[in-house]
């Protein structure tokens, strides 16, 4: 888990002024973070790619309204979460996730593959096993409620601090901690149930 480097204030100002290279720099700096949040929230690479691109286009359209440049990252995360929520609702209405099961075929960069009998309690050693664990966890994440998934993705996968999360969700840190703990326990239950 690695955090994106902070972008210079001048780059944000340049993007506001319509500088193409400044916008490109913003995209290159934050594309991995935005794409990974979208992927973890939606569980599909293609959807995540399309959505991330939409997010950056939205950023370009509305960056002139950003008053405090120092809060750019928080603002970008908020836009990302909003887009993910909307897309999630859209896909849910079309029953996109209805047939999802932890034992469904696994999607990989090389295409889908049939799931072999897999017990994550074994120590994953090979590359394939590691990938299978990641897919297994990803499918578990999609079984969570949306707000629980957001907390786990941002804290445990993206490494946001409790302070940042409190600011992002406008909640006290204590509330964030207790909600996050419930989300983790629920995810543990989901994963254990699918194994046994």
């Amino acid at each position: 888990m690695e955090r994106s480097p902070k972008i210079q204030k001048e780059v944000i100002e340049g993007c506001k002024a319509g500088d193409e290279s400044a916008f490109s720099e913003i995209v290159l700096t934050y594309q991995k973070k935005v794409f990974n949040i979208a992927f973890r929230m939606l569980g599909n690479r293609e959807e995540a790619k399309e959505l991330s691109q939409e997010i950056f286009l939205s950023v370009l359209e509305s960056i002139k309204d950003l008053k405090e440049d120092i809060k750019f990252e928080s603002w970008l995360t908020q836009i990302t979460l909003n887009h993910c929520r909307n897309r999630w609702k859209y896909l849910k209405r079309r029953q996109y996730f209805k047939t999802e099961s932890l034992n469904d075929p696994i999607e990989t960069e090389d295409g889908e593959m049939e799931r072999q009998f897999f017990d994550p309690s074994d120590n994953p050693e090979t590359h394939l096993e590691k990938k299978m664990v990641q897919q297994f966890v990803q499918r578990g994440l999609l079984k969570l409620k949306e707000d629980q998934r957001e907390l786990i993705v941002l804290r445990d996968l993206q490494g946001y601090s409790y302070e940042e999360l409190g600011e992002l969700f406008s909640l006290p840190e204590g509330t964030i901690k207790s909600r996050l703990h419930r989300a983790r326990m629920y995810l543990k239950e989901i994963l254990e149930r699918s194994v046994h």
Binding site: K49, F56, S121, K130, V137, M185
Partner: protein
């Protein structure tokens, strides 16, 4: 410390958020409770998976695709004029709704007119038929009167029938109507009516009745006569030097006399005036220019006498202004 309390502290225990004493108690419980120990291991393993999850690589050409989408969007907006719709914020659906509402209002507005017209056509028939049923005696009496009264009175019957049928339906209405008819028949003098309708001039020239009689006749026939005189226009030709000044003066005089200028067309003025003020008006006109009058009925006396009885009635005058000849 029970199992639930310890399990609630798993996250804090993992992240080192517990105070040393709390952590010690939790670890003591975990060492002694097999179930909690198992839960804690599972929790730890899952957290390890999450923390070691590899980040997905961004698809190749991510930035280029964004640029392409941006260009495509710009081109599309310019081609379709979407920028205008977005800036105007007028969704087509909303415009369609407004059209539908207006159409509905228009159609609804038309419908009541139809029904009103139908009612206007149907109601007299209904009223007449109900009157036939309710007041056979009244009809007999009216017909009897019709037969005994000379033709001009037919017009009065017509007027009476044209009255609102609602009034006819009211209880006791027939009694009052019969009474009224009787009175009118008694008061009416047939030859005078006939002459009056045929030619006002003849009526004016007719023998002068005694004052009481004359008042009675005028009162009973006033409606007809005044309505007739109202329809007539008295033509006045006024020769003057200065048309503009004359116009102003005539307007002033008309207003002073309680009348009104209805219309101005070139050198012609159309004015209404209370009959009672006509004589005075004529005098005032004579001061403005040389006067010549074409009467719809002859004699000022007639006008003055009628004006006395019906001071509020008005007369219409058409004043032709002829310039160039000094009075």
């Amino acid at each position: 410390m029970d199992c639930n309390q310890v399990r609630d502290q798993f996250s804090s225990l993992l992240e080192g958020d517990l105070k040393p004493q709390e952590e010690e108690k939790a670890r003591e419980h975990l060492a002694s409770c097999h179930d909690c120990q198992k839960e804690w291991e599972q929790f730890n393993r899952m957290m390890n998976w999450l923390h070691t999850a590899r980040e997905e690589d961004v698809p190749k050409g991510f930035l280029e695709e964004i640029q392409k989408k941006r260009e495509a969007r710009k081109g599309k907006e310019i081609r379709t004029g979407a920028w205008f719709l977005r800036s105007a914020k007028i969704p087509i659906q909303a415009a369609a709704m407004v059209m539908i509402v207006f159409l509905a209002l228009y159609l609804n507005k038309m419908a009541p007119f139809d029904t009103v017209e139908k009612r206007a056509v149907e109601k007299p028939e209904v009223a007449e038929s109900s009157r036939d049923k309710e007041a056979p005696v009244l009809r007999e009496e009216v017909e009897q009167k019709k037969r005994s009264v000379p033709p001009p009175l037919d017009r009065k019957d017509y007027v009476l029938e044209a009255k609102s049928p609602v009034a006819d339906e009211k209880a006791g209405a027939k009694d009052s109507m019969v009474q009224k008819m009787k009175e009118e028949v008694k008061e009416a003098v047939a030859p005078v009516f006939k002459e009056e309708m045929a030619s006002p001039k003849v009526m004016v020239k007719a023998e002068a009745p005694r004052p009481e009689e004359s008042r009675g006749i005028l009162e009973s026939t006033g409606g007809v006569r005044m309505s007739f005189s109202k329809r007539e226009v008295r033509e006045i030709t006024l020769r003057i030097n200065d048309p503009e000044k004359a116009f102003t003066q005539i307007q002033d005089v008309t207003k002073r006399m309680g009348g009104d200028i209805v219309k101005e067309e070139g050198d012609v003025l159309l004015a209404t005036l209370p009959i009672s003020a006509y004589m005075e008006f004529e005098k005032e006109l004579a001061k403005i220019g040389t006067l010549s009058i074409t009467l719809p009925f002859e004699g000022k006396d007639d006008l003055s006498s009628s004006s006395r009885s019906k001071g509020k009635e008005s007369i219409t005058l058409r004043v032709h202004l002829v310039t160039g000849i000094s009075p």
